[in-house]
């Protein structure tokens, strides 16, 4: 080659060049290194703050937004006991015992079974208008309607639903006292109306617990919750055994524990998603490299032929996500949560042979061959572009069915691309090269999935179902239509509640 000696001489001379930089250069480098460290610290702080604030929002949500599942639990327990209830016995539940001593001497008998019978607690012959309105309301919920109807079906026609407590409201002693008088009159009216064995009931569809109070408790100024040491929101039915003989019958009492509260407190869960990821132009359209990145390299004017190069098709690659979530319920069916996940996504391309290149090694005084670039083509070697993300998902979860077997979740995820070995395509040169600066570090995505609870062992539930995540942020800075899509099967292990 005619010119090689010239190049060699130039190389040798150039390698010898050494120039001393001014001290300001190092000061600048040191300052920037400090700034980077600070930025990294700030990024971690922001992440931590986001998580903490998310948790705080859920934590500080108004208590009355939390509807426990105990209502259902109580009803369920009542249903179980309903069959045991003797038709000859008068079911008295909860507020029906809120009578003064005088009344309690003559009131109808009650059994713990009856006390638990929520299906039969909403019927009374008295007119609804005579009932206190503050803090109480006609129950219009479907559950209570059904319980009312069931009860009414077995009772005289005169009975009808009268009182239910407003969900989530704490009953005060004054209210209880007021109800006492009403219940007494209801009982009397019931007797008159039905002649005998008419259930005289003050309804209780209290959201968290059915609280039965001993006769006279209200007058003694004792809060029903205090009597039994049980918070009205707690999942226990508490009936105080009365000391006094209530005539020929006694009210049996006891504490019946129901299913532990699953809807109050924090519910951690472990997540695992296994699937495949691909590059998309949008949710439905796969990324077309030929349309987006191909540039026709025609014969250049000088007559030098350039080989036709085209980018590889992008195929799906394996993907998975693993992490932990923590959820808090709002109502019996809806929960909101946040988590921290590691997500691995990949796609597969085919690259051509490495393009050899060389550089002069100053120390060894020789040319060193290296391969920083790969040719393009669809008949080359398979290569997996791998992406490692850390992300914080914030999700909304909805239990679709009553039995809570199926749930749907959706949310957004903010992630940071912590690493990648992906190759980018240079359409002018027709080669693949690696440049992580070309990738967008902060990623935002949306996800959704359906979960089916298939097993529960020792309070730990296992669920699985389809999962999909679509990255709203384009993967590359330059190309705005490269979005990642992860489709797979998601599994969750719902651990026991924290609090």
């Amino acid at each position: 080659m005619p010119g090689r000696d010239f190049e060699k001489a130039m190389q040798e001379k150039a390698q010898q060049l050494r120039l001393d930089p001014s001290p300001a250069v190092w000061q600048g480098v040191a300052e920037q290194l400090k700034q980077r460290r600070r930025k990294r610290g700030v990024a971690w702080l922001l992440l931590a703050a986001a998580i903490i604030s998310g948790i705080a929002v859920v934590w500080l949500a108004p208590e009355n937004m939390i509807h426990s599942r105990d209502q259902q639990n109580t009803i369920a327990a009542g249903k179980e006991k309903q069959n045991q209830t003797s038709p000859n016995k008068l079911p008295i539940e909860a507020n029906s015992t809120l009578t003064d001593k005088k009344d309690s001497q003559t009131e109808q008998p009650a059994t713990p079974e009856n006390n638990l019978n929520n299906d039969a607690v909403t019927s009374a012959p008295a007119p609804a208008s005579s009932l206190p309105k503050q803090g109480f309301a006609d129950n219009k919920s479907a559950d209570n309607k059904s319980s009312v109807n069931k009860a009414s079906a077995n009772k005289p026609a005169a009975t009808k639903p009268v009182v239910t407590r407003a969900a989530g409201k704490k009953v005060t002693v004054d209210e209880l006292t007021a109800v006492t008088a009403e219940v007494a009159s209801l009982k009397a009216a019931g007797k008159q109306a039905a002649g005998k064995n008419v259930p005289v009931i003050a309804s209780d569809s209290y959201s968290d617990a059915a609280v039965a109070v001993a006769p006279g408790a209200a007058q003694r100024g004792i809060d029903p919750a205090d009597i039994n040491g049980i918070d009205p929101f707690h999942r226990q039915i508490a009936v105080l055994r009365p000391e006094a003989n209530t005539g020929d019958r006694q009210i049996k009492a006891g504490i019946v524990k129901l299913d532990p509260a699953r809807k109050k407190g924090w519910y951690p869960s472990l997540h695992l998603v296994l699937g495949a990821s691909s590059l998309q132009e949008d949710v439905l359209k796969q990324y077309n490299t030929f349309a987006n990145e191909y540039q026709n390299t025609t014969m250049i004017p000088t007559g030098l032929a350039a080989p036709q190069r085209r980018p590889s098709d992008v195929k799906t690659g394996p993907a998975f996500a693993v992490g932990m979530n923590i959820n808090r319920y709002f109502g019996s069916k809806i929960s909101v949560g946040a988590g921290f996940h590691y997500v691995y996504m990949s796609n597969r391309i085919e690259i051509g042979s490495p393009v050899d290149s060389a550089y002069y090694d100053n120390r060894q005084q020789q040319m060193v061959t290296r391969t920083a670039y790969n040719g393009s083509g669809n008949n080359g070697e398979s290569f997996h572009n791998r992406y490692h993300l850390l992300q914080v998902p914030v999700e909304f979860n909805w239990n679709i069915d009553r039995k809570e077997k199926i749930s749907w979740n959706a949310g957004v995820a903010i992630g940071y691309l912590v690493g990648s070995d992906a190759m980018q395509y240079n359409k002018q040169a027709g080669v693949y090269y690696r440049d992580n600066d070309a990738l967008r570090k902060w990623q935002a995505g949306i996800f959704s999935g359906v979960q089916y609870n298939f097993r529960e062992v020792k309070g730990i539930r296992y669920s699985a179902g389809p999962f999909i995540q679509y990255q709203l942020t384009s993967l590359e800075v330059e190309h705005t239509n490269k979005h990642q899509l992860l489709v797979g099967i998601g599994g969750r292990m719902h651990l026991k509640k924290i609090r």
């Binding site: 005619p2 000696d5 150039a14 001393d20 480098v29 000088t302 920083a372 240079n426």
Partner: protein, 190 residues
Amino acid sequence: MINEHQLVKDCLKGKPSAQKALYEHFAAPMLGVCYRYTKSMTDAEDVLQEGFVKVFHYLGQFRGDGDLGAWIRRIMVTTAINYLKKNSRYQYDLSFSAEQQGYLHPVSPENPEVNLDAKQLADLVRQLPPGYQAIFNLHAIEGYTHVEISAMLGIHEGTSRSQYARARNLLITWLQKESESIKMSHYARS
């Protein structure tokens, strides 16, 4: 002689003393690299600073099986190219027109003697237009192929070849003139 392996380890731990030692060891040769790609010492020092920040940032990716100096040198070259692309003063000369793409100078068969020292030669290369300068440095001195240069600069491979040929011819002409003037001064002295 410094222990590069240990130095890298200490730098990865974030020790400022190790970072400074690494910088001091490589700053002078790397400034030489940056100097060849830019038009002023200030620009060269800017590139050096930016390059060293990248070196410390990506040091974790250095596998240790190669030469650390060569690895840093590649970062400096890439940083210099990016600097030229970003800097408005160089952008005009880096945009290659269609006419330029088709133009190919005949390659001179001569191999003039390079009697200048490293600094003088670098100054000569810096007199080339920025586009030529970058391509000449990348191909003749760093050893990059025209395919790689086309990828780095975002130009056609043919453009890279033609620009290099132009740069080479210019340099040879200048070198011949320089050597003649040196000879003349030599004769004058004798």
